[in-house]
Every structure is written in C-alpha cells, then in structure tokens.
Subunit: 241 residues, 2 copies
C-alpha cells in the first residue's frame, strides 16, 4: 500500500470550538504531534461535546478517536501505541518497550499535575469559545469537578500559574542535561507535555511561562517542529509569534 | 575478565549514619538498586559528610561515588549511565537512548517534587542518626535550605505527607496500566523513585503511604526484588515487615 493510500485512510476526530478551526484539546494535540512525527496527515474531523452520536461507533464518548481503515482507536496514549505498531518503519515515538512505559508515566504526570492547574486558568476562555450547544455541558461538568462556579474557579488564575511554574521544575532540571524529554530529538514523551501548552495557546491569550524560562525555549522548539506545524494552528485571538 | 574479578574492582562510597550499617541516602539507593539490577556486588564503603578528603579523588564532595578500576564516577544518574555502558550484556537499566532520556525526566521529577517533601518529614530522624561530627553541617545546611530551624521544618510533617501523597498521583494513574515505571519489570526509572522510599525506610519509623495505596504495593514489589535485597537493609528502628 502506498503512503498516500494509508494517509487517506486515516481520520481523526478532534474537539473543536464554535469556530471549527479552533482545535484546542490537549489530548488531541498529543495525537496531532504523534501523527506529524510519523509523517502522517489524517483527515481531521471537528467534533463538539454534544455530538456523542458522531463517535458512538468508537464505543465511548471522548475524542481523540482515530479511524484507520477498519481499525478504531480512542484514548490518546492508545492511539500513539497504535501508530507506533502500525508504522514501525517511520521515526519511533517511544524508542522501545521501556521508553513506552516511561512515556506513560510522563503522560500521567502531565494529566494529573500541570493539566488541572492550566484548566483553572483557561476555563472562561474555553467556555466562551465553545459552540453554544456545548456550553451548558461544559459549565455543569467543570463546576462539578472543581466544586465551584467557572467564574470562581477562574478567579485565582495568577496563583495557579505560579503553582504551574513550580510543578514544571522537573522539566527545567532535565533541560540542563538534554534538549527534549525524549533526548536529542522530541518524541511522544515531549508531546504528552506539549499538548497542554497548545491547549492554552489555541484558546487563550494568557501566557503561562516567563520568557526566560528554559521551558519556554523547549516549547518554542516544539512549535517549530515539523516545519512549524503547531505554530501555524489557528488561535482564538491575535497573538505575537 | 571474569565476573568475580569485575565485581571485586567495584567500590561504592555511600552515606552512612553514626551506625555505619545505616545506609539511607536516596541517591545511593538508586545506585544500589542499579548495581543489583546488573547483578553486581560492589565493596560498599561507609562515608560521612565530614569525610570530604576520603572522596576528594572524585573531584567533588558528594556521594555516591563509584570506583571501577581506573574509572571514577560520581552523581547517581551518571553512575547508572556508566553501568549501562560497561555491562551491556546484563539486564538493561534504560532500554535504549530514549528510555534513558525519559528516565532522566523521571529522576528530575523525584528530586524536585517528592524528595523535598519527604526531606521535611525526615529531618530530625536523619539528624539524630548521623555521626555526631556530621550533625552541625547537616543542621546548618538544611536550616539554610529551608529558611527555618530543623525543628520548625519538621513540625509540619503530617501536612507534607498529605502533599507527598498528592504529588505521587502520576504514579498511581500509571499503575492502573502497568506494574512498574519501566513496564512489566522494574528498571532505573523505578529506582529513581524507590530510592526516596528507602531513605525514609532506613532512617525513620514514619510511614509515608496508606496501606491501600497502589504505590504501597509497587514499593513492596521493589522491596522484594533481587531476593529481598532492599527489604534486608538495616533500619534505624524496629519495623514490621
């Protein structure tokens, strides 16, 4: 099968805003970067929280969902594992079994420590850019998760950004020894953390990092990867490069 | 060179208490486990903070220091890298370049987030078990680091244990999918985190984990590894198995 034929068969369902060009889910961004890493360009299908029916074929209700011919894979980490197995001849995402296992820990670090802090700083920006039909679901589910109104949860954003910068200390210490989590070049462990920065970049004018933070330079290198693939993504507002 | 000859040539300088059998440094434990992983039994030399002269040959003043024939290596991560390169035919610590890079991030996670919290809970236990000549150095350096007296820093141990359990959430989430950070079997990424639990175990009766915490079971599996190598280490007080 030619590369083109394989590419054509890939379809990625991604969370989108009211403007369907706004693709901001951190987990979808992990997959977008993994696909770019493998040199794959799927058909990207915008999806909204209210459209459960559109992905019911995947047996669950969350994106990302990747459709590859007859194969349907949900959950960002499982999609990365699928891509690694399906395209072994292309650049590796994990560098082997042990690298895959350690990347899973790094993915768990991203999702449990920094992601909830960033969520607090983005709540109102996300709410305001969702399709109107998605807003009640978003408000209700997030107010339940945080135990307060969206407005209350968003009010302490500056304190959350402070806390975020502290919780990123492992990345800063590591960057003294190597340029990427995956070593000399970025791979899936990097995308696990980079996804959440794309979430913020696409949906909000809030800057999470100080300009002299080594994490800022790491993020810039990933924005530049694959000919500036992530940097070129549409964002909600005017933004300086 | 036979295995025995190579083993004989290895010497590890380790932090010890007033009782030289008490080996509690988390970084020395990372190396102890890495050596056990490679099936190596070095000569272990107890070292005290005041004995800078004894390791001056290493060009710096901290343990662990590994001496392997003509080679001298300090810093736990660099020692692990040395062992991986010197004993490639023995079980791998990193599973390749990318696994080594991601392990470096996990090591940085351990050292920057949980280790400072555990330190706060152990300060008085460590102080009281150091050689008398080491105590003034320890008090002065740690009081400077924490900006308060040892007694003040140790007073909020219960709150630090709460915070520690929260900061271990990535490990808990990962353990839903695999038994060790390194996958099906433990390797260096696991030892990076396990070292700090041995630090606590050897020096203090304080229990850091709830018994029903999945991290507790992971720790027990590492205590059992290599025929109970870590579990057999002398501890400061009576301790239930």
């Amino acid at each position: 099968m030619s590369d083109t034929a394989r590419d054509t068969a890939l379809r990625l369902y991604e969370l989108a805003g009211d403007d369907p060009g706004l693709r901001f889910s951190p987990h979808c961004w992990k997959v977008r970067m993994a696909l770019a890493h493998k040199g794959l360009s799927p058909e990207c299908v915008p999806w909204h929280f209210a459209e459960k029916d559109a992905i019911a074929f995947s047996g669950q209700g969350l994106v990302p969902v990747l459709v590859a011919g007859e194969t349907v894979v949900s959950d960002s980490f499982r999609i990365a594992e699928y891509l690694e197995a399906a395209y072994p001849e292309r650049p590796t995402l994990f560098g082997g079994e042990m690298g895959r296992a350690t990347a899973r820990f790094i993915n768990a670090y991203a999702d449990t420590l920094p992601v909830p802090l960033i969520a607090r700083t983005l709540l109102m920006d996300i709410h305001d850019r969702l399709a109107p039909g998605d807003r009640p679901y978003f408000r209700q589910s997030r107010e339940k998760r945080f135990g307060m109104t969206l407005e209350q949860a968003a009010a302490d954003a500056p304190a959350r950004i402070e806390e975020l910068r502290r919780i990123l200390q492992p990345l800063r210490l590591m960057l003294k020894a190597q340029p990427f989590l995956s070593g000399a070049e970025p791979a899936y462990a990097d995308y696990c953390l980079f996804g959440m920065f794309m979430w913020a970049r696409v949906i909000s004018p809030t800057e999470l990092l100080a300009e002299d933070d080594p994490v800022h330079a790491w993020r810039a290198a990933l924005l530049d990867a694959f000919d500036g693939f992530a940097r070129a993504a549409p964002t909600a507002g005017a933004r300086a490069a």
